[in-house]
């Protein structure tokens, strides 16, 4: 059974770079890796998606090693507004949508 694990929580300070790693040992060949951000009282919001190597967009980078058994979401220079829960997800088709349990990031001044 596919399983996606990530740290329960992380603390950081404003201006620092934050790296959140997700482990997905049973990832399938066709799986993509997607990260979502969730604020209190809101639904998750898409951040970034990748298949291999590195992907970068205006808010984050996603690093995926060659074996694809893990992935790291990198948030450059976090601010207080980045305090949220971050979920990684792997999916091979609809019936293999597997979310991690979420990492609660707290950014302090």
């Amino acid at each position: 059974l596919a399983k996606t694990t990530q740290p329960i929580s992380m603390d950081s300070y404003e201006g620092q770079e934050v790296n959140i790693t997700c482990s997905h040992n049973n990832i399938a060949t066709n799986d993509y890796i997607t990260w979502y951000q969730q604020f209190p009282s809101q639904g998750p919001r898409f951040i970034i998606q990748g298949y291999k190597t590195k992907v970068t967009n205006e808010v984050a980078s996603l690093f995926i090693p060659a074996d694809r058994k893990s992935s790291t979401l990198s948030l450059p220079r976090v601010s207080l507004s980045d305090t949220a829960v971050y979920y990684c997800m792997t999916n091979t088709g609809f019936q293999k949508l597997v979310f991690g349990t979420g990492t609660r990031l707290l950014v302090s001044p």
Binding site: S41, G43, F46, L97
Partner: protein, 113 residues
């Protein structure tokens, strides 16, 4: 902007009641999903639909059913609510294909007494 709306933000029901949770999306998306979110367990897929009148079971379909009569609307039904169905329910939609970005609604917090 994509908008996914859910009929209620908070709902309180009694054990044994039939419960309907409604979800509407305005982006003409083919795919719609229902998840439940519980502390320490993340999001778990209950049912999904990739077309009108089509539905497929997710990881935890027991005790739930769904209905998709129109493309923009996806309903989750609890035939006989139980206390272990107290949870946050999230609806999402996405464009065709399983890898596409999902857009989530704000969630419905259901309490079953």
């Amino acid at each position: 902007d994509v908008k996914v709306t859910q009929s209620s933000r908070y709902l309180v029901k009694r054990t044994g009641e039939k419960v309907f949770l409604e979800c509407v999306q305005d982006m003409d998306h083919e795919n719609m999903f229902w998840y439940r979110q519980d502390p320490g367990l993340g999001l778990r897929l209950i049912y999904f639909s990739y077309d009108v009148k089509m539905k497929e079971k997710g990881d935890i379909p027991e005790g739930y059913s769904v209905s998709r009569e129109k493309k923009e609307r996806f309903s989750l039904i609890l035939e006989s609510a139980s206390t272990n169905q107290t949870s946050m329910y999230l609806c999402a939609s996405s464009d065709r294909g399983p890898d596409n970005e999902q857009f989530f609604g704000p969630g419905t917090r259901l309490t079953v007494l």
